[in-house]
């Protein structure tokens, strides 16, 4: 048999292509068939052209060929294995375009991974207190009071509400109170070593209201008697490793023996309170405090009966207040008190309910058990997750449509051949699904690897719920959604090509028609710039809180904790250490300008303006801190007016106060507050209400410059310093270079004076820094995701630039032969993308400005986020974008024109 030459075969291939035989899997077959036919004809002596003509005739020439091809296409469409062929075609297309596939998958995988991590976080936040079986019926009672200038929104209610509510409202099934005293020392009576444990006073009904499964003991009897406790499983294992904790004793604060009556399963992480120990509130005097207005503030929870409406219950509270609270207020304020008068002066007293499951995300009141989450951040992070996913999907769309030029012909011919638009849509969708699926698998791996990092950033213990079927269901749903999201536009875009135009070569879609593509790139960069601005703004505010003038000097101060253990040696401890030249000053106090130290709010008024039923507007709620003579000096505060406490005035300790500027303003003491007097109650009556006979007055001797003692979100509250002993801490200001040497000296002396207690210390600047941990976490999480968004966007840009450069190879070649320099070509290529980033910058700035303003409004003290920040963010985005495409541009520009022009 005569073998055809290469040229003959080339001729046949080209001719058949020209006649429109292009169908994959069919084309090759026909070529081979025609070749074989021609060969046979040539054996019988015909020349090549004649033989070819004859063979084609047996097919029915072009018409017959096309008819056959159409039949094959129709058969493929009809049969069910079509999906397989879509799938195979999709795989083949992906393998053929490795570069774009890898970029697509990488971008999408990272995007999906970020999304999954954030979703896990959001889901965790939303799951708080869900473990309570009766959770939808549990409500916490809150109190809001506005009394003169005292304004409070408390997560607390009076102890008596417990009984009064239950007696008055039959829809309440049960109530439970918790009273948090802070951590206490616990030890077994026969052991000496004691440890601080998180504990709370609790009613025995606790177990009926909340879902706290018991490991040991009986929920019906637990905590029923005084001096009994329920402890967590962890704690039981720690104190009673031998087992059977119930019935054994624990010593709290070294004085009272408490019998363990139950061991409960550790509280899950998604609970709004975490305690290791509940101690029975029975017989506790505070729990019997009859006052509704002055004492016994506790966290009160109500369990409503099935079907009870909390709003109807809330509607009954004003009448309750009229009946029970008003008489008590009248008693305190004396005279002819009436609620109308009380209200007409702008005062108010109200109770309202917070559903248990809303506490974590929706409640931010005074005296919450723990720092709650914030629904805003849940929304914010969800938005970020969505943004990142969109950015990743845009990559996919852009690359698919960009490559459309290469596939336009395929689409055109397929359509001519009778392929329906639906087939093409299905084909392209299959391609996107294949990619999405691979990306999801990869994303799961990334999530699994990166979750520990995220956990340490966000202080969470999230895990991938591989054991939950719903998780897989969600994944499948997500694959479908993302697959459609990423594939729908390209598939409709590509399948919409008009064969006439494509085959005429009218569509140079790869480079032009970029309006949609450009807007998508712009959108990606809008998101990226927005996130960068967010990151910088948070960082700036964080820097501001740490480095602005805060009113005291936080560096070089050591704080010795638990100074109470020094008992009567405390003064000696301070004095002896002051002998050291490296310690410049020291102060004994429980009150320090960092959170976690003591606080003491009370109500004061200018002397003579005793609060009565007529007039409570002069009352001011103010912090009263008990400090010693060296407090202001040691902490580096500034006296603005008057003088500091002094040993030369013995009366200071009973009659003098130093106010901060905020207090001077609040009391309206005018430009010269010195010598003016403030008064307050100093004692309570037995029922817990303030005793009108205990009013005492102090003289203002000095004004200290405002200093921050809470997060800068809050205004600096009015504050007064009193010269009185409070022994929570001893603070030392030191100047030595060797911090360790100073610490050693302090510790040596501690061991001498309080040998049985461990030495604990911290540095003031670190404690101060800890107040902003939440902001730091936010900043780093924001930073990470901003970085990811940028990386994904740049991946897409990189591939897009590669594609454009490829498309314009010839143009570049011609330009170079005509004398264009490498620089001018690089400029030419990067200009387009630079423009897009600039547009993105212009668009994102107002959005980002709005977002930043909204966030920073939450702070009373704000850093200025000037135009520089926005310029910087835009600059970063532009620089990163140019760097990304730079490689592609330079490569294209450096190419030898001879080479690029010779191809084809």
């Amino acid at each position: 048999m005569a073998e055809l030459t290469k040229d003959h075969i080339d001729y046949i291939i080209k001719d058949l292509h020209y006649r429109g035989i292009v169908l994959e899997g069919f084309e090759d077959e026909i070529i081979d068939h025609v070749c074989a036919g021609v060969e046979e004809q040539m054996v019988s002596g015909k020349n090549f052209i004649d033989a070819y003509e004859a063979t084609l005739r047996s097919f029915g020439n072009t018409d017959g060929l096309l008819e056959t091809q159409k039949k094959v296409i129709q058969i493929r469409t009809k049969t069910s294995s079509m999906f397989k062929s879509y799938f195979l075609l999709a795989l083949r297309n992906h393998v053929r375009n490795k570069f774009y596939t890898i970029i697509n998958v990488a971008g999408l995988a990272v995007g999906i991974a970020s999304c999954i991590v954030i979703m896990l976080f959001v889901k965790h936040e939303l799951s708080y207190d869900n473990f309570n079986e009766k959770g939808d019926r549990i409500y916490r009672v809150n109190t809001a009071l506005h009394f003169g200038s005292v304004q409070k929104r408390l997560a607390l209610g009076a102890a008596q509400l417990n009984d009064l509510f239950r007696q008055n409202y039959p829809e309440i099934e049960s109530t439970a109170r918790l009273w948090d005293w802070g951590p206490r020392y616990v030890r077994r009576p026969e052991h000496n070593e004691r440890v601080q444990e998180k504990m709370v006073w609790a009613d025995s009904t606790l177990f009926a209201v909340f879902t706290l499964p018991l490991v040991e003991g009986d929920a019906r009897t637990a905590l029923k008697e005084p001096n009994t406790v329920a402890i967590s499983q962890t704690m039981a294992a720690k104190y009673f490793p031998e087992g059977n904790a119930v019935g054994k004793s624990l010593l709290i604060d070294d004085n009272v023996n408490h019998r363990v009556t139950a061991v409960f399963k550790d509280l899950p992480e998604n609970s709004h309170f975490h305690f290791d120990m509940f101690r029975s509130i029975v017989e506790l005097p505070e729990s019997k405090n009859m006052s509704l207005v002055g004492g016994g503030w506790m966290n009160v929870y109500l369990l409503l009966r099935e079907g009870a409406d909390p709003h109807q219950l809330e509607a009954k509270f004003p009448a309750f207040i009229e009946k029970y609270v008003a008489p008590q207020l009248a008693d305190v304020l004396q005279g002819d008190f009436s609620m109308e008068k009380f209200r007409s002066q702008g005062n108010s007293w109200s109770y309202w309910l917070t559903p248990l499951r809303d506490i974590h995300l929706h409640s931010d009141l005074e005296s919450e058990f723990e720092a709650n989450g914030n629904i805003t951040y849940v929304y914010l992070f969800s938005a970020i997750a969505l943004f990142i996913l969109i950015v990743a999907c845009i990559n996919f769309m852009n690359l698919s449509t960009a490559r459309s030029a290469n596939r336009a012909r395929e689409v055109g011919i397929r359509k001519v051949m009778g392929s329906l638009r639906a087939h093409l849509v299905r084909q392209f969708l299959t391609e996107s699904f294949v990619l999405t699926f691979i990306s999801f698998v990869l994303a799961l791996a990334i999530v699994w690897l990166s979750l520990p990092v995220f956990n340490s950033l966000a202080l969470k213990t999230l895990s991938v719920p591989f054991d939950q079927p719903s998780f897989y269901l969600a994944l499948v749903a997500a694959i479908v959604i993302v697959g459609f999201l990423a594939g729908l536009y390209p598939s409709f875009f590509l399948s919409s090509f008009k064969p006439v135009n494509v085959l005429k070569g009218k569509l140079a879609l790869g480079t032009k028609s970029g309006i949609v593509r450009s807007s998508l790139v712009v959108f990606q960069f809008v998101i990226s710039i927005f996130l960068i601005v967010g990151t910088i703004a948070i960082q700036k505010q964080l820097y501001y809180t740490q480095h602005t003038k805060i009113g005291f000097q936080k560096d070089q101060v050591i704080i010795v904790h638990r100074a109470g253990f020094l008992k009567n040696h405390i003064q000696a401890f301070k004095d002896e250490l002051l002998q050291n030249t490296s310690i410049t000053s020291a102060t004994i106090t429980g009150y320090l300008p960092v959170t976690g130290t003591w606080r003491n709010t009370n109500t004061y008024w200018p002397e003579g303006k005793v609060p009565t039923h007529e007039d409570v507007k002069d009352m001011v709620s103010m912090e009263g801190w008990q400090v010693d003579n060296d407090y202001v000096k040691t902490l580096g505060m500034t006296i603005k007016m008057g003088r500091d406490f002094s040993r030369e005035f013995p009366s200071d300790s009973t009659e003098a106060i130093v106010l901060n500027e905020s207090a001077v303003e609040k009391f309206e003491l005018g430009p010269n507050p010195l010598g003016k007097k403030l008064s307050s109650f100093t004692d309570n009556r037995p029922d817990g209400s303030p005793d009108p006979n205990s009013i005492k007055s102090w003289t203002v001797i000095g004004v200290v410059e405002d200093f921050h003692f809470a997060n800068m979100r809050e205004n600096i509250a009015p504050l007064a310093l009193f010269l009185q002993r409070s022994d929570g801490y001893v603070a030392f200001r030191f100047k030595s270079k060797s911090t360790q040497a100073v610490l050693d000296k302090i510790e040596t002396l501690w061991k001498k004076l309080a040998p049985e207690n461990a030495f604990e210390y911290s540095f003031l600047d670190e404690d101060y820094g800890k107040m902003y941990d939440a902001e730091k976490r936010l900043a780093s999480i924001f930073g990470v995701f901003a970085g990811l968004a940028i990386v994904i966007a740049c991946l897409g840009l990189f591939a897009l630039a590669a594609f454009t450069a490829e498309q314009r190879t010839k143009e570049i070649g011609i330009r170079k032969t005509l004398g264009a320099s490498v620089n001018s070509i690089v400029f030419l290529l990067s200009r387009e993308y630079g423009k897009l980033v600039l547009i993105a910058f212009v668009l994102s700035t107002p959005v980002a400005w709005f977002g930043v303003q909204w966030w920073i409004q939450g702070y009373s003290y704000r850093a200025t986020i000037g135009p520089g920040v926005y310029m910087l963010a835009g600059g970063i985005a532009l620089a990163i974008a140019l760097l990304t495409i730079g490689y592609q541009c330079i490569r294209a520009a450096m190419m030898n024109p001879a080479k690029s022009l010779r191809s084809e």
Binding site: I9, D28, E29, I30, D32, G60, T68, K71
Partner: protein
């Protein structure tokens, strides 16, 4: 030469049977083989053969295998195991048909 009308219903049977007897074959080879077996009476047109092959492939009766020879790519077809069963059944069915036709048309088949 037989009329294409008569061939129409038997094309798949022919393809299956030929493939059953010869194992691996490509399209052109099948047309040649059928021509040979029928002494030139049956000429499979390409326009009928290829759609039939693709249909059988789509139904899972045929497997394909491509071999590149020089610049051309040759696609071989083989029967899958359901294909083999089908080949047998279709041939049996056809024999049955011929016998029925014999009785209907009152002709004696040798």
């Amino acid at each position: 030469m037989h009329s294409p009308e008569l061939l129409k219903g038997t094309l798949q049977t022919i393809v299956l049977k030929v493939l059953k007897d010869h194992g691996k074959m490509y399209g052109y080879e099948i047309t040649q083989r059928v021509k040979e077996l029928s002494d030139g009476h049956i000429l499979l047109t390409e326009g009928a053969l290829y759609p039939a092959l693709h249909k059988l492939e789509a139904e899972g009766l045929l497997n394909t295998e491509t071999v590149s020879i020089g610049k051309r790519i040759r696609k071989y077809y083989t029967l899958t195991s359901p294909g083999k069963v089908q080949a047998k059944e279709r041939v049996a069915e056809f024999v049955d048909f011929i016998q029925t036709m014999g009785s209907v048309l009152q002709v004696k088949l040798n």
